[in-house]
Subunit: 175 residues, 4 copies
Amino acid sequence: MRAADVDRENDLFHSACLSIRRVVAIQVSVIGSGAENEERAEEVGRLLAERGATVVTGGLGEVMAAAARGAKSVGGTTIGILPGETRSEGNKWLDHVVVTGIGHGRNLAVVASGDAVIVVGGRYGTLAEIGFALTLGRPVVVLEPGLEVEGPRRARTPDEAVEVALAGSRNTLGT
Amino acid sequence: MRAADVDRENDLFHSACLSIRRVVAIQVSVIGSGAENEERAEEVGRLLAERGATVVTGGLGEVMAAAARGAKSVGGTTIGILPGETRSEGNKWLDHVVVTGIGHGRNLAVVASGDAVIVVGGRYGTLAEIGFALTLGRPVVVLEPGLEVEGPRRARTPDEAVEVALAGSRNTLGT
Amino acid sequence: MRAADVDRENDLFHSACLSIRRVVAIQVSVIGSGAENEERAEEVGRLLAERGATVVTGGLGEVMAAAARGAKSVGGTTIGILPGETRSEGNKWLDHVVVTGIGHGRNLAVVASGDAVIVVGGRYGTLAEIGFALTLGRPVVVLEPGLEVEGPRRARTPDEAVEVALAGSRNTLGT
Amino acid sequence: MRAADVDRENDLFHSACLSIRRVVAIQVSVIGSGAENEERAEEVGRLLAERGATVVTGGLGEVMAAAARGAKSVGGTTIGILPGETRSEGNKWLDHVVVTGIGHGRNLAVVASGDAVIVVGGRYGTLAEIGFALTLGRPVVVLEPGLEVEGPRRARTPDEAVEVALAGSRNTLGT
């Protein structure tokens, strides 16, 4: 791109940003793991972004990367909340990177930062996140087939999971 | 706005976002406190945003709010990393809200998420953040007059503080 | 007690401490909640102390207080890892108090500090702790009836729970 | 030792423990770093133990190990609050080990767990701890020569540092 084009892009971007600045974007956390769940996570990320929600994840690979990739594929916004001490460990689909330095302790921040939480696959770390999300009163939706645990709602498709999460988000935000 | 205008805005926004998606935005953390330092913090936030840096703060009042307000005044991007368990405690100039739930423990994440750190006023909490930033090797700049502590660089003006921070950021990012 | 008796007690205490100082005490975390589970938790705490294990808990009420109370009833040692910023919130059966200041984030420390974990009752916070314990490879035993979740072993009685936990501890400690 | 002697030791130990169970032990955190400060830290640890205070540290090497070693040399009690995920990284003078798993984030717990804090040497991590200790209102004493930072009291000798810390502890505990 020539410099003039960059400037024009930036102007468009800034005016677009300014026009939406007072709208609070809903944030939905997508948690889970397992390479076999990446396709479903990517669709969840894409659907969330198409509905205007910012996608929050733990910022690393598999489900976390797939959800962010899905969101970016349609121009959505992504936040990664990393366990380590440097942003270089984040996947490449993150717009904004939060470096916590507190290892697994960052799982609390991942779910607390979502107005709702969608679970795609996952194992023990995901269990900890579900426990925290329910403790904090966040709406949690498990995409079937998924972790068997009491508390969350269940959804049969990515579409349904996103629908339920967004409805729940409105309760969290009190709107 | 009519629905058609909203759609058009969104399209512009999306295409702008897509065009910049591969650019890694520099993130600079602005830390400190004290109502008497808000004016300087607001200028720091504004200057950072004008230079394309995302402004990261602890998300609450005084210096944190002022830095975010300054960034938003020119269409910049802001992230707030909150100590509590709900995003409602964040100030109203935050685009993206990270809810950590770990109280003062979030100070580590605030500075770790910056490729550089600018200090405006502040007291004991700020001291903890400076200690963490230096531990992690982040470039730290204290805007004069400011905390007397060994380690950080000093800057006489907001302009100089931003200049030094951005130069340091490039080292952190390895670019 | 007269001063001379206090001195004599202290001397006995010091010589006893010195004689055992090279023995690493096994630490077992007891987690869970629910007033209806206090009796079982107290027995678990007592049995652990009788077997020489230090009892680690989250330091607050219900199951946490009961487990510590049981341990102290037979002269055991107890550690409470508190979520808040002051030791005054700890129950009165704690020998040693760790004040974390990181709210629910302290759940990670509670289970990480156990060479094994025993679960008595509990709900969402306990779920988070189980998830973390399994993530870190700690042996986890759920006392029946208890949380239904995949991963932990199950025990029908406090005696069996303690037996399984102590056997698992030896693996964690590599002895 | 023969089994009978072990039993007798244990009986003595238990009765001694029971006799002191209602005394709340003062906890003092010793923070800092630098191999050149180990001798002074060891004396601080010893003096604290002789005065009946439990010594809390970050559980690793140098000043942390020396303070614990000093306390154990006179039969005192020590707690180590570790940054990693396993107790094996703790030094060998720890009676009780808290494994936090949150890296530098554990610095908050180290100072929050002290009714007072003594600083021996140290650098950036120590600065973070001093900042947190002052934020939480803990009395902080820097042993001269030491970090130059506003807020803490200064002591010229280990003896004076311990004296000042114990006096401050009584305020923290409200006794």
